[in-house]
Amino acid sequence: MITDNGVLIKVEGLEKEFSGMEKRALNGVSTEIRQGEVVFVIGPSGSGKSTFLRCLNLLEVPTGGNIYFEGIDITDKGNDINSYRQKMGMVFQQFNLFPHLSIMRNLTIAPMKLQGKSKEEAEATAMELLKRVGLEDRADSYPNQLSGGQKQRIAIVRALCMKPDVMLFDEPTSALDPEMVGEVLNVMRELAEENMTMVVVTHEMAFAKEVASRVIFMDSGTIVEEGTPDELFNNPKSERLKSFLSKVL
């Protein structure tokens, strides 16, 4: 269920405190992710951008605030988070493919066990997606036989096999050798062109500029500035964003 104005995820006053840490990782973050939007979250390390992303599917449990996914408050403990996570694909910096399973099994285990798909059905979907990322010949390989770029493309496909409503990317190219970044960004670019709703935490500023429909700049656990790529990259208003951009561009 999508709310009337196309809001897929609504975040209200999100707070996250890690025990033993003085500063809050998130300090009252509020924003909305609309359907079809490609939102990039940028900011210096320690700004809380990864924590923000990981709160969206409750891999980190927020200590305050609310997250509404398709109109339902998923921070409410009465709601079964596992069923919502099936609709929120996630791609990790370290790929996190399952090393004991073949690529095909990596892709089909969740659709088969969680969505009750038959083996044939799940494999057909997986094969179709593998072809799109050019890795159909690796279906019987194991993750450790693949390069980093290939692993990350498989990780994206694994999330897509669940037919998610939104894809969350947590620094998807940060662990890759430079020559492999392009192949992963290409897959993400295609997804964006197909109007997949995406939230991307990244350090790839040029890519953000090119693909983002909206950019969020975070620092010290808060959203400092948000707007179109043009607004943020070409006309930054806050000093913090200006100084950040002068370092990374």
């Binding site: 599917n57 891999l59 099936q86 004991h100 969740a110 969680l114 194991y142 450790n144 036989q145």
Partner: protein, 232 residues
């Protein structure tokens, strides 16, 4: 020649006369039976305890079950297995008529479970946190993530340690004689008490244990290699 004649006579006296080999064979079968059954009990118990402990370590939940598991581990690992066997036989089942083999299976199963538990827990904790997160992010609940993602990987890592525990267990059952159960060791000892010859029956018993352990190690090594080959 005299030596060989002497050896043959002693062999006859200890194993052939009065069908004494039956003590060895029946004892061996009992030892295998107790070891195999205790292994199953130990692995089931060990995995349950390990998952409770690992769940507590990772999520902070299951405080009371975790406490009970820790008491179990401390008591079992802190006391000799012979004493545990005697207590289970004479105290816990003291007033019940129960087969000694069953008592031995319970005692060695409970004992082995404590060691298996810590091996398995170590294996679970050694799996990268990212594997857990990837499982949860796909929508698997905690138990499904454990079953499909974490435990299969942990099992591969801890397989050599589990094999070692199996071998230790096989040899530890040799104390079953304390509750007068006729296992392999007790069988050899009975022959010794009848023939007043210690060398023949006891060395025979030792060689049989040695052969079993070497056979198991050979099988485990092959299995391990096979598993490693499939781990790409």
């Amino acid at each position: 020649m005299e030596f060989f004649q002497n050896f043959a006579d002693r062999f006859y006296l200890n194993f052939i006369a009065e069908d004494r080999w039956k003590y060895i064979v029946n004892g061996l079968l009992t030892t295998i039976e107790v070891t195999a059954a205790a292994l199953v009990v130990g692995i089931i118990l060990g995995f349950i305890v390990a998952i409770i402990r690992a769940t507590h370590d990772m999520t902070g939940k299951m405080k009371i079950p975790n406490f009970l598991c820790r008491v179990y581990l401390t008591v079992i690992r802190g006391t000799p297995v012979v004493v545990q066997l005697l207590i289970i036989y004479f105290v816990i089942f003291g007033s019940v008529n129960i087969e000694k083999v069953v008592v031995a299976i319970i005692a060695f199963g409970i004992n082995s479970g404590a060691y298996v538990a810590e091996i398995v827990r170590g294996g679970i904790m050694s799996i990268d946190k990212g594997q857990f997160e990837a499982g949860r992010s796909l929508g698997f609940n905690y138990a499904q993530t454990m079953i499909y993602i974490i435990v299969p990987q942990a099992f591969k890592n801890i397989f050599p340690a589990l094999c070692n525990e199996f071998i230790v267990l096989l040899k530890e059952t040799s104390v079953s004689g304390y509750i007068a159960m006729q296992d392999l060791t007790k069988g050899g000892d009975i022959i010794r008490s009848r023939t007043y010859d210690a060398f023949m029956p006891l060395v025979a018993v030792a060689l049989i244990y040695l052969a079993m352990v070497m056979l198991l190690e050979f099988a485990f090594n092959r299995l391990e290699r096979k598993m490693r080959n499939s781990d790409h």
